[in-house]
């Protein structure tokens, strides 16, 4: 769990990994350079460095990001949630950008996501086309890229999650922020870096209204336990 100044979901991700998924978790301060024992790096949600400029634009220069990039280049699993997704885009680890929501307002509400692909280290606990309930909480969540790049993403099977309705229909009405092709989560072309706009960390326990998000964390555990090939 990387803690940037202004991160505020580091605690939530830590809780899910430690108490729900029951795997050892550590906080990494953004000025650190060493995380030799980590299998997965999570960039949590929040407002890193205040996000007074473009979201994630300063965080990508945080000292730890150099190591995060190296780690990803070596094939390590990296996942960015919400603000973490924005930072991964700014750092060039994921293609595209996250623009201001279509409504130009911060939006907090439950959203449904359709699993587009389940042979990845992040989604192997789900069925393809499974509908998941998670929480959206963002001001800049509109996924954007050039038409050519979008085509490439789609062709390469890099879109992992799409906004949909409760029945799994991908509709304009189910798109909370104007994201192109209803894209909610993507993976890089090598398949080891994922960004997701809604919060699986807030939807990992039934008492909070949904436990669907825990599957992402369990997927990664399964992959390290050698239970799946992906």
């Amino acid at each position: 769990m990387v803690t940037f100044p202004g991160s505020n979901c580091d605690y939530d991700c830590y809780h899910v990994v430690q108490d729900v998924v029951r795997q050892p978790a550590v906080y990494l301060w953004h000025k650190e350079h060493h995380f030799d024992n980590c299998d997965v790096i999570i960039l949590p949600g929040g407002f890193a460095h205040g996000d007074y400029l473009r979201t994630g634009a300063i965080a990508r220069f945080s000292p730890i990001m150099r190591e995060v990039v190296d780690f990803a280049m070596r094939g390590g699993l990296v996942i960015g949630i919400c603000n973490g997704f924005q930072i991964l885009c700014e750092a060039g680890l994921l293609p595209g950008a996250l623009l201001r929501n279509r409504s130009l307002r911060f939006l907090h509400r439950p959203v449904y996501l359709r699993v587009e692909k389940n042979d990845t280290p992040f989604t192997n606990a789900y069925r393809k086309d499974q509908v998941l309930k998670m929480l959206a909480a963002h001001g800049d969540g509109c996924y954007y890229n050039t038409p050519e790049e979008i085509k490439k993403l789609e062709a390469g099977g890099q879109v992992l999650f799409r906004y949909c309705d409760r029945e799994g229909n991908v509709t304009e009405a189910a798109n909370p922020n104007g994201s192109l092709n209803n894209i909610a989560g993507i993976v890089n072309s090598s398949g080891n870096v994922m960004g997701l706009m809604p919060h699986p960390d807030r939807a990992a326990e039934a008492i909070l209204g949904s436990a669907d998000g825990a599957g992402i964390f369990f997927s990664m555990v399964a992959r390290f336990a050698g239970l799946v090939v992906a």
């Binding site: 100044p5 202004g6 505020n8 979901c9 939530d12 809780h15 929040g46 307002r105 509400r109 909070l208």
Partner: protein, 738 residues
Amino acid sequence: MKEPEVNIALAKKLGLTEEEYQKIQGFLGRMPTYTELGIYAVMWSEHCSYKNSIALLKTLPREGSALVAKAGEENAGAVVLDEERVIVFKIESHNHPSAVEPYQGAATGVGGILRDVFTMGARPIAALNSLRFGNLGDPRVRYLLDGVVRGISDYGNSFGVPTVAGEVYFEDCYTGNPLVNAMAVGLAKRGRLVRAIATGVGNPVFIVGSSTGRDGIHGASFASKEITDESEEDRPSVQIGDPFTEKLLLEASLEIIKKDLIVGMQDMGAAGLTCSTSEMAAKGKAGIEIDLDKVPLREKGMTPYEIMLSESQERMLVIGKKGREVEIREVFEKWDLNCVQIGEVTDTGRVVVKFLGRVAADIPAESLVLGGGAPVYNPPRKKPTYLENGVKSVKTPDPPKDLGKVLLDLLASPNIASKRWVFQQYDSTVRTNTVFGPGYDAALLRIRGSKKGIAVKTDCNARYCYLDPRRGAAIAVCEAARNVVAVGAKPMAITNCLNFGNPGDPEVYWTFAEAIAGMGEACRALETPVTGGNVSFYNEDPTRMVYPTPVIGMLGILDDIDKATSSHFQTEGNWVYLVGETKPETGGSEYMKVLTGQVAGVVPTLDLKTEKKIQAFVLNQISAGIMESCHDVSDGGLGVALAEMCIGNQERKFGFALEAKPTLRPDLFLFSESQSRFVVEIKPQLTYKLEEAVKKENIPLLKLGTVGGTEFMFSPHFHLSIEEFSNAYFNSIETKIG
């Protein structure tokens, strides 16, 4: 810069009276300097001294076995949660700043109340608010609403505290002077609460956080006068918020507390450095000497007067332990925050302020503060003429022909309609403890590491308070308690935010005194003491004053979070009952307002014994595990309560067949706002338990009908499709805002 000459004219300009000016000279034994006069003016302003309210506030019940900190003693009240932990909570107004600069006004209101909580060593776990505006048809009102909501949203979201509950009302009396009350709730270790105190001669005094600028000078004085056409010129008195710095300040503050490096800490809110130094010194029966040349400044050429009165945000005054200075600095360095020693604690009992080598102020700390030298007034009271002139005698409206249409109108009334447009802009789930967020009777948070949960809610029906301040305030307490009970929690204590007009007006002061009396009666009856809060007077614009609006922030504790009860229907086929008695009471109701445009009549009766008995009964049944859902009956009466239970959960809406045969006129049965009532949903096979229990305790119970179908049906009066009344309820505010 040459300082102005100190004389009575200047004193008056700063808001002091002639007597107060004399009193200052008495305390000092000489003429005050310009800086000293400014310090007295701001410390003796209504906002800091509570000079017109403290005598009455002291009549409120302020003790209870569960309370750790007594009202007014610390920055916020504290209630015992379990053996290891306490809940710290407080509500505060930011009305005047929000009236001229809604975005920053509301944002810094949130920032200020969060600091009040974490300065005590508690990590904020929830934020709430209570907002009041004029009519949504007025474009300036929409501008104010938009700015206030964005301000709360941006500050709370970025800081990382979930905004879990609140209320929003629209009434013409708030057109020029909206009410923006912000509440924060925090969790702290029981033995680790930090006090706002300066003790230990030689202990270092640090200023930490943001640097000091010219923003917010006279903010406290600005809050202590009415809104006028010239108020726009006070825009510079509004502070600017920086939630990112606040978040860093939170982490650094909690770190120095955890490492046991300090003896006391106070946030710099109203009156900034002035208030924090004098209050901390007075409380510790000590003195503080500071050197303003050391204060990190944002701009050049600031005078001692400006530095002492600046209300720049995200700053704290920290009294460190001698010998731990280096460790304290290291913590703030890690978080990239200023941390500068500007002085030390002395034994003189005086606040001494040095600037460029000379003494700019030298004042006995005690003489400045509430409970010390600050004046205490008992303004005259007179029953308002509007109450003498029969606002109470109003005819009950004739029964309308189409009750279904009236219900739709009520559901679409902005005061009742869903506030989804507002609360979707708030992050209500960060920190992953929110079990119930906005849209429930009260917000409910789990407390990790225990079975317990806490329920919180803000409430006030200001129309009742306008028509009958005493009963209205008592109802506000009871309704807040009812909301907390409905989710399954036991009401524990309140914080209050008392929004009134000019206390110099005897009619206003009468309503204030009555409201305090009513609040005290209800708090005593329900055993929910007052842990603290805030008074905001001078809430008026040139044409009108606001309704007396004593907002209650209630804290409840739930021993077993698994017993949490939803406010929305759960299962088709379940039976629904009304607990409590319905009388023909439409005075001050939303029904009366929607039908006749009037705010008039006799406020619904309230019997505190009955209220307490019914709350205890409902809580017992929830603990016994027989309730599937539970909702209090308030604005809009039974009809609205049932509709809300049908559609409150947007993902699972239900129809309902209202089969009861009322003895009252059907419109009064549906829309009366009689107090002390709950609607409850029970599995058919368990209803006998409820029916037995009410007999034993002699509590009125009426079977209303069955959950299910695709309509809200009350034959022969109406059949409303779920879609129809759902649209009225959910789309009304969005449509009006456009």
